[in-house]
């Protein structure tokens, strides 16, 4: 089923789509920011610093999600020998890395007024830092190696090693005592976050996902142009 992939057809989509995704992103992010910064209520305890959450939580979700995705893409790319999957993974990684940094920085800004410290070596925060290093390793390994087969193998190893860290990050707050609070949003039980705060959170998550899609399309487009120009590096 993957054999019928045609770079030319895909290219016609990836070269036109970013415009529309950008417009859509601007609309959604404007609604999200108005909701998060103006319309949503203050928290009973944290006051206005709760608004940091609307950036922090979606950024953390997206960075974990993208890392899982590039892991599965690399694994399937390796098992079925589909080089295109590695390129898709490569194009997704930068936005995941950026969102990971955003999650760490906004968490730190929130932590100072709330906890009374910028940084704590607790399991959640440390595992998120480790994930950032895995992202960095992944991105760097695409730059330092010339040989494509070498890159595929090394990025596969990095993603698998880093992926073990994803459930650890997710469940660290349940398994161990951490300074970081447990998850407020649960799929199976009632969320411990009020509906009026849930809505801006959902919108901001959609906005960040769109932003990742936008960056992905632009990066992937560049990869396709590189292939076209070289004419050698066939997918």
């Amino acid at each position: 089923m993957f054999k019928y992939f045609e770079p030319n057809k895909v290219f016609s989509i990836t070269s036109k789509a970013p415009k529309y995704v950008l417009i859509f992103f601007i609309i959604i992010v404007s609604i999200g920011l108005i909701e998060a910064l103006i319309l949503s209520p203050e928290d009973y305890k944290q006051g206005n610093s709760v608004r940091i959450m609307y950036v922090h939580v979606p950024a953390a979700w997206i960075s974990l999600g993208i890392f899982s995705m590039i892991t599965f893409l690399s694994i399937f790319g390796y098992i079925f020998k589909i080089k295109n999957f590695f390129l898709i993974a490569k194009s997704f990684a930068p936005s995941g890395f950026v969102f990971n940094i955003i999650a760490l920085v906004t968490g730190s800004i929130w932590g100072k007024p709330t906890w009374g410290t910028w940084w704590a070596w607790d399991a959640r925060i440390t595992s998120m830092l480790i994930l950032m290093f895995f992202y960095a390793l992944y991105l760097i390994s695409w730059r330092i190696y010339e040989n494509k087969d070498q890159i595929y193998k090394i990025t596969l190893i990095i993603t698998i090693l880093g992926f073990i860290n994803v459930p650890i990050t997710k469940f660290s707050v349940d398994w161990w005592n951490t300074l970081h609070q447990p998850a407020s949003i649960n799929i199976f039980t009632k969320s411990s976050i009020h509906e009026s705060m849930l809505f801006p959170l959902a919108i901001m998550t959609a906005a960040f996902a769109l932003f990742s899609l936008l960056i992905f399309l632009m990066k992937y487009n560049t990869e396709l142009i590189k292939i076209k120009n070289k004419g050698l590096d066939r997918i």
């Binding site: 209520p41 928290d43 305890k45 944290q46 694994i75 906890w115 410290t117 399991a123 090693l161 300074l179």
Partner: protein
């Protein structure tokens, strides 16, 4: 449907993930003592050694237990089973309140007395507007 090579590669990745996940699980299990950010008063009652090492205690600030004596803040950390008295001198974070979560970093002097050098407020997972909080308390 798929070739032998594909199946072998699939099996290889599967084994690699299982091996890695298991070994990391075992490593974390044996390091549990250091992975936890703080201990509860009950854990301290049972197994903490009273030594010079810095450690952290976490739990709830007991209701009506905060006393300010000249420079010091005295309060009780409880996990609703056991309690520990804490003394601290310095500024406390804004969210440090009675009935809320707290993590104290410092030295254990004896089973019931903890000398804190740093106080962190622990935030719980509940987020709600003040009106909702009032409505909940009014019930």
């Amino acid at each position: 449907m798929y070739g032998r090579k594909v199946k072998l590669r699939f099996f290889f990745i599967f084994l690699a993930i299982v091996t890695l996940a298991l070994s990391i699980f075992l490593i974390l299990k044996s390091l549990e003592e250091n992975v936890v950010y703080f201990k509860s008063p009950s854990e301290i009652k049972i197994d903490a050694e009273i030594d010079k090492k810095k450690m952290r205690v976490g739990g709830m600030v007991k209701k009506n237990s905060i006393k300010i004596v000249s420079q010091d803040v005295k309060f009780v950390i409880t996990d609703f089973k056991n309690e520990i008295n804490v003394v601290y001198s310095g500024a406390v974070p804004n969210l440090f309140q009675e009935g809320k979560g707290v993590v104290a970093e410092g030295y254990l002097k004896d089973r019931n007395f903890f000398l804190a050098t740093k106080i962190l407020a622990k935030h719980d997972e509940n987020y709600m507007p003040p009106e909702v909080k009032e409505a909940l308390e009014g019930k």
